[in-house]
Symmetry: C2
Subunit: 396 residues, 2 copies
């Protein structure tokens, strides 16, 4: 029988990145397309040891059902961790929920706040995974221009006025995905004030904040949140392991309460073994030392990529990010983006076309995203050289 799907899903396509991902098993393809942490980044020995200890000391807790809001000891450990990384992030009316990755925190917040047809504002471009979630709720997705130091405040104000039904502003203030840029403190303050005035919840997604390898930390928007309008999403995917799928949201207690109910209906709770592993890692390992090792690793990989691009890819524009996992690159005007992506693919280099990240995918785009965490150093050098040859050929 021909099945009829819901309106929300009938036009949804699999994420282009997830689809590219499936081909990444081919070792001859240079993987600049994903957002995977480096294999060297995983604290394998510590996690192996912790898993053994959890099974030895507390197997029943690890294997039995638990409460939806999260393993209580992990919730406390995450509060301390977040507070140490972002002083002032917890406000008196806030609560915390442990989620199956930050992706689920985004999903639950949207489920709790957005009706079909409501507007969600976001940076343009922005993270495809979040945009697709918003699309499954049939939100009216409105992109706001992204400048070098963050979203355009002027254009945000205009968008808020134009869309009084806006419910959420979705932001990745640190090392934005895909552009790698960071929002200035001045803009964070201005954006907070604007959203407060317009009764819009800020969904602050900060997967990369702990991966700063240059420049000065800028406080999270959540630290400014005296009025309870910010839902802050964090994750252990980039600093411990994405395969464990443990993330969290810190948000006003009323919103967390609704997210908990939504999560009960979604997956009951995040796996307890995984929560206990993350908890033990935060409690007993040298987290600061681990983070600075990660930062050093990615600083090296990023500068290797940027240097190779300066050498082989100087006819395009690109940034040199202060953290995160991505470099954003804009081609010369006369080069067609999809022609370039295809030619790169033929040269066995996978990158993600910028169109993937557009709230309005029909807008013209000349940029693409490169990831420097997943490839080896040798792949970085070799891959950028290949991209350089592809571009040179196209410009000839």
């Amino acid at each position: 029988m021909e099945l009829v799907f819901s309106h929300r899903m009938e036009s949804m396509q699999p994420s282009a990145i997830r689809e590219i991902f499936k081909n990444m098993a081919d070792p001859s393809i240079i993987p600049f397309a994903g957002g995977n942490p480096s294999h060297e980044a995983f604290p394998v020995k510590e996690l192996e040891n912790i898993a053994r200890i959890v099974f030895e000391n507390n197997p029943i807790t690890a294997l039995q059902y638990s409460v939806t809001e999260g393993y209580p000891l992990l919730r406390d450990a995450v509060k301390s961790f977040a507070q140490s990384r972002e002083p002032g992030i917890l406000h008196p009316g806030d609560d915390i929920i442990i989620t199956t990755g930050a992706q689920q925190a985004i999903d639950l917040a949207t489920k709790a706040l957005v009706n079909e047809g409501d507007t969600i504002l976001c940076e343009d471009p922005s993270f495809i995974g979040a945009l697709n979630t918003f699309r499954t709720y049939r939100a009216n997705l409105v992109g706001v221009e992204l400048e070098e130091d963050g979203i355009s405040v002027e254009k945000l104000e205009a968008a808020l006025k134009e869309h009084p039904d806006a419910k959420i502003l979705y932001l990745i203030p640190n090392f934005q995905n895909p552009t790698g840029g960071t929002m200035s403190l001045e803009k964070r303050r201005a954006v907070y004030d604007l959203c407060l005035r317009h009764h819009v919840v800020i969904l602050e997604d900060n997967p990369y904040g702990d991966l700063r390898f240059a420049g000065e930390n800028v406080p999270a928007i959540k630290t400014l949140d005296t009025e309870g309008i910010v839902c802050y999403c964090g994750t252990f995917s980039k600093i411990i392991s994405p395969g464990l799928r443990v993330g969290y949201a810190i948000a006003p207690a009323g919103l967390v309460g609704k997210m908990v109910v939504a999560k009960q209906c979604g997956d009951i709770h995040t796996p307890i073994l995984n929560q206990m592993i993350c908890c033990q890692f935060l409690q007993s390992c040298n987290v600061a030392g681990h983070l600075s090792a990660l930062q050093k690793l990615y600083r090296g990989k990023c500068s290797l990529m940027v240097q190779a691009m300066e050498e082989h890819f100087s006819r395009a524009r690109f940034n040199s990010p202060e953290g995160g996992l991505f470099v954003w690159c804009t081609l010369p005007d006369r080069i067609g983006l999809m022609d370039f992506i295809r030619a790169a693919g033929e040269a066995k280099v996978a990158v993600v076309p910028g169109t993937t990240f557009l709230p309005d995918t029909s807008r013209p785009c000349h940029s693409f995203r490169l990831n420097f965490s997943a490839p080896t150093n040798q792949q970085i050098t070799e891959g950028v050289e290949r991209l350089g040859r592809v571009l040179d050929q196209m410009l000839r």
Copy 2:
């Protein structure tokens, strides 16, 4: 700021069972309310050993991002397992998705199929976790009377005629939650034919199928599904561990495809470590031996409960299920259900009022659900005795 929640969530309340759960840490309360497997049911040593092997042999796969549809080796292992338990369950057009528990399979299928206002038919009473999921999609929930051998075919036919917008029929054919009853093969065939004729997808939830400890196995409705209208949900929660949160759906490939896209937006993928643990368990442990040990364990607990009820609770009506985790009990007419539940609580016995399981919670109900897997044998005897004293007191 006062946050405004979405219509779908504004009236949703936390699951009564999940809330009761929070109090179950109090060891003086006899836990007849949950649906937790017995602690004795967990293959702790095997899982500990498997986790160690996974970390030793394949840590990067366990910790890195993976594909949304599930760890490929687990998908194959689950297909073999399901096929061995339910011969003929896989049809040529079917595919499989690994989910974060069967709860997520229910959520994803609903997301893929149901628009706001569409009708979902279900047994009355039925599993609160699924009913609440349907409510978050603002479905029109229509309960159909449940008889001893399954849903009333006559009433189902009337309901299908009355609700041409019905998209899903949700069923728990084996050891139904909450009633413990099992649908006859004759009814399974009749229900399948009816749904095919009315273009309604059957969401077949089978968490307890492997926990049959008496009587003969009845084939899953999915084994009848030559036309591709059944989405079969399975889980390892009751036979390996609920804390690991690994479930699956076997369904027509088109529906699985939509569920995969919905899952990308929900939690990207189910944790890989957990999938690898379940995979290794299926591949290398004595699964048949483990299942028969579980069946023996629950056969003993169930008969202990039923015997104690025959002795102390004979003024109420109750069934003797052939499997699963629950006994369903109906009080004498003159006893108010909530008065009884309260008095039981005061006697420190937690049971779930039947109203919790009603699609229409305003319908009168005189029944409650008892769980025999979580309490110890001593708690079963003691708890039923206390319930007997409570009832005697109220009947005096």
